[in-house]
């Protein structure tokens, strides 16, 4: 059974149709890259799958491990194992990263019918995971994304992913604004995360992240539809020729 199954998804935002019948099937253990020019609907796809308010699904279904989540609330989707790494992680002033992560982890544990982990166990795990991403211990005490650099914000997203252990992680432009060093750290985090039971969807404009996280499938989204799918060589083609050929193909 696919982990994520998007079928004939039509979406509009403020009376404008952004997605016009997207199909995408992601099996356990796979990494998919969704690429496309600016304004092609990549971020809409990521957000609508996560249930962000403001997007109207006109038609189609989204299934997570067989369960229809098209109408589910964002928190229901999250608790079923769907994770979205944000393109622009927002600040929550005064709420420490630690408090935020603990609240997220506790509600996941609760949803699984488990008790919340002890504070000590949680802190040990959070510190160790942060360290793997090159984030020092003080990082966890700071306000969520408050005064973080661009790289810190993105690493913080990966930290959350590693701690929450979702079944499917959608990374929305996680490579944007990262230097090569930061990108390698992020990619290492994602590669650590991958196993045969979960899956990753990388939404990206550029091919360069795919040098570090090798996708099994590459899809080109343009004009609200996936117009071409292939293996990683498709990404290399895009890198070489840019997106102009797509406009011709549309």
């Amino acid at each position: 059974m696919p982990l994520l199954d998007i079928e004939d998804l039509h979406v509009q935002v403020e009376d404008q149709v952004i997605l016009g019948g997207v199909h995408l099937t992601v099996a356990p253990g796979e990494v998919h890259a969704v690429m496309g020019p600016n304004g092609s609907g990549k971020s809409t796809l990521a957000n609508v799958v996560a249930g962000r308010p403001g997007y109207e699904v006109l038609r189609g279904t989204v299934r997570l491990a067989g369960e229809d989540i098209t109408q589910a609330s964002p928190e229901e989707r999250a608790l079923l194992g769907l994770f979205l790494a944000f393109q622009y992680p927002i600040e929550i002033p005064g709420v420490s990263n630690m408090e935020f992560l603990k609240a997220a982890i506790d509600s996941h544990a609760l949803a699984r019918g488990e008790g919340a982990p002890s504070a000590a166990a949680f802190i040990r795990r959070a510190r160790a995971t942060a360290e793997r991403l090159g984030l020092d211990a003080g990082f966890l005490k700071r306000g969520v994304n408050e005064g973080f650099s661009g790289g810190e914000k993105k690493r913080n997203e990966i930290l959350q992913m590693l701690l929450l252990e979702p079944r499917i992680a959608i990374l929305d432009e996680t490579d944007s604004g990262l230097d090569v060093d930061a990108m390698q750290v992020v990619a290492a985090g994602v590669n650590d995360f991958r196993d045969t039971g979960n899956a990753v969807v990388l939404v990206t404009h550029y091919q360069r992240l795919l040098d570090y996280i090798v996708p099994d499938h590459v899809h080109v989204l343009a004009g609200g539809n996936i117009i071409r799918s292939g293996d990683r060589t498709l990404a290399e083609l895009l890198d070489r020729d840019g997106y102009s050929w797509i406009e011709d193909a549309c």
Partner: protein, 492 residues
């Protein structure tokens, strides 16, 4: 079509139907004066409290002054004219004042139990080992009278006087006569004058020279009777080098009529003394259509009389239909310090006009104002603050930070900072921000599995952090929970 955005609204709507947990009525036989106010009522209140003649005269003079005054109209709040002749000015559980807790009507004890207020010293002390809680001495005021004050003996051993105002008038007349009305004069304002005429119970604290009060002191005010005003009076005196931390809490039943609460609190800090006064104000706020609720018109002021003395106000204001209060500090002692930390939350149709005055009247005085206003629903939330430096206040410093948080788009936040500086070397800083709980913040939380209700509470808690950390530990937790309840239904 997708209904995820409606779901956000739903999640928020279900929060609206929150219960005001303290809204029950205690069924107890009450002696209530007939409505209306004249000199005979003032005399009758004084007689009820077995007051000496000087106290009766003091009240009468205040009453005569009040008759000539008019209610203030400058606050950014709106309400129908109050008919002061329709209010009853005294209500008390029937019977003699109990000599000890054992004699207190069990119905009253159950009331405080339900409110989570510890009146049993034994249970409190037993809890010390169990949960590591420090005992808190409590004065419980029910309508117009104090029904019990705990830990009085232990405090007495330390030389600390902690009793009801009525008792202080009888037992410590020299202290009351010396300080009552010195910080908030009877003629200060309309509501202070009214309070001075008819004040019922409240707490009296005296901490002698060089004494650190051995435990937290607190007073819980409960309005129960119908159509009755509550006019408590609190006086706290910290003698030279003394220190004390005091907390007040207040609740009232849910009723459709508005009820008036006009308190006066006076703090006096002598040289090197330190008073920390915290309030968790949870008077009934009215229902979501704005019916009922308490009019909370309160005058609170502290005087730092001695050098290097310090007075710190911390308030968490979540209740009341209308709040009108400005806990202030008059800095008369050289190098004295005034602080004001405030969280004021308004939801539904609540209105708050609150802030502080820091009056610098001596060299090197320092004041800090941190105000966090949270507006939700259709409420109006105003910060009003005055910082004044007198000509002799060389080297005075003030820092003011005034932040507003809006939830939804039908509420209002207003800031009226007044600065009057007559001393060129004084440094007065003012920072203000206004922000909204954004959909993006909510979505981030929900995407991580945190439901909308919890998310809003967490975001607001983060916004208030600078103030909460000024509260005594266990009250900070209580304040956080209170905020969560008060916010229910806040985002739309």
């Amino acid at each position: 079509m997708s209904d995820t955005s409606e779901r956000t609204d739903d999640a928020i709507d279900t929060l609206v139907s929150s219960e005001y947990a303290a809204g029950f009525v205690t069924d107890i036989e009450t002696e209530t004066f007939p409505p209306g106010l004249d000199e005979s009522v003032v005399r009758a209140i004084s007689a009820k409290k077995e007051e000496p003649a000087w106290m009766t005269e003091w009240r009468l003079e205040a009453y005569r002054g009040w008759r000539a005054m008019t209610p203030p109209r400058w606050a950014h709040v709106h309400f129908p004219e109050i008919d002061f002749e329709s209010i009853s000015y005294f209500a008390a559980p029937r019977g003699d004042k109990p000599a000890s807790l054992d004699e207190v009507d069990p119905e009253l004890l159950r009331t405080y139990d339900r409110l989570g207020i510890p009146l049993h010293e034994q249970a409190m002390l037993a809890g010390v080992e169990g949960a590591g809680r420090t005992p808190v001495a409590v004065d419980a005021v029910f309508d117009s009278v104090s029904i019990a004050t705990t830990f009085k003996e232990q405090l007495k051993d330390a030389g600390v006087v902690f009793c009801s105002m009525a008792e202080a008038v009888r037992e410590h007349p020299e202290l009351v006569q010396r300080y009552l009305g010195t910080v908030v004069p009877r003629s200060d304002n309309f509501y202070a004058a009214l309070n001075s005429a008819v004040f019922s119970d409240g707490s009296f604290v005296y901490v002698p020279k060089g004494t650190r009060c051995p435990m937290e002191l607190s007073t819980y005010f409960r309005i129960n009777a119908e159509n009755t005003g509550q006019f408590e009076r609190t006086l706290i005196i910290a003698d030279e080098g003394a220190s004390v931390s005091y907390l007040e809490g207040c609740t009232a039943p849910m009723r459709d009529e508005n009820q008036l609460h006009a308190a006066v609190v006076e703090l006096v800090a002598l040289g090197d003394a330190d008073i920390k006064y915290s309030t968790v104000q949870n008077w009934y706020p009215g229902d979501d259509e704005g019916r009922g609720g308490i009019y909370n018109f309160v005058t609170k002021r502290g005087a730092c009389l001695g050098a290097r003395s310090k007075i710190s106000w911390t308030q968490v204001e979540t209740g009341s239909a209308i709040t009108w209060k400005y806990p202030s500090v008059v800095l008369r002692g050289e190098g004295s310090v005034g602080e004001f930390y405030s969280v004021a939350l308004t939801n539904n149709l609540q209105q708050a006009d609150t802030g502080t005055k820091m009056i610098h009247m001596a060299p090197n005085t320092k004041s800090t104002i941190i105000s966090k206003g949270i507006s939700a629903g259709r409420s109006q939330n105003t910060y009003r603050g005055l910082v004044r430096t007198a000509p002799n206040a060389h080297g005075a410093r003030n820092y003011t930070q005034c932040d507003s948080l809006l939830i939804g788009d039908q509420c209002g936040a207003h800031t009226f900072p007044y600065i009057e500086s007559r001393q060129p070397s004084a440094v007065v800083e003012h920072e203000a921000t206004t922000s909204k709980v954004s959909d993006d913040q909510l979505f981030l939380c929900r995407q991580r599995g945190i439901d909308a209700e919890k998310a809003v509470a967490m975001i607001v808690g983060g916004f208030c952090k600078d103030v909460f950390r000024e509260l005594p530990m266990e009250f900070a937790v209580e304040a956080g929970k209170l905020l969560e309840v008060s916010l229910e239904g806040a985002v739309g």
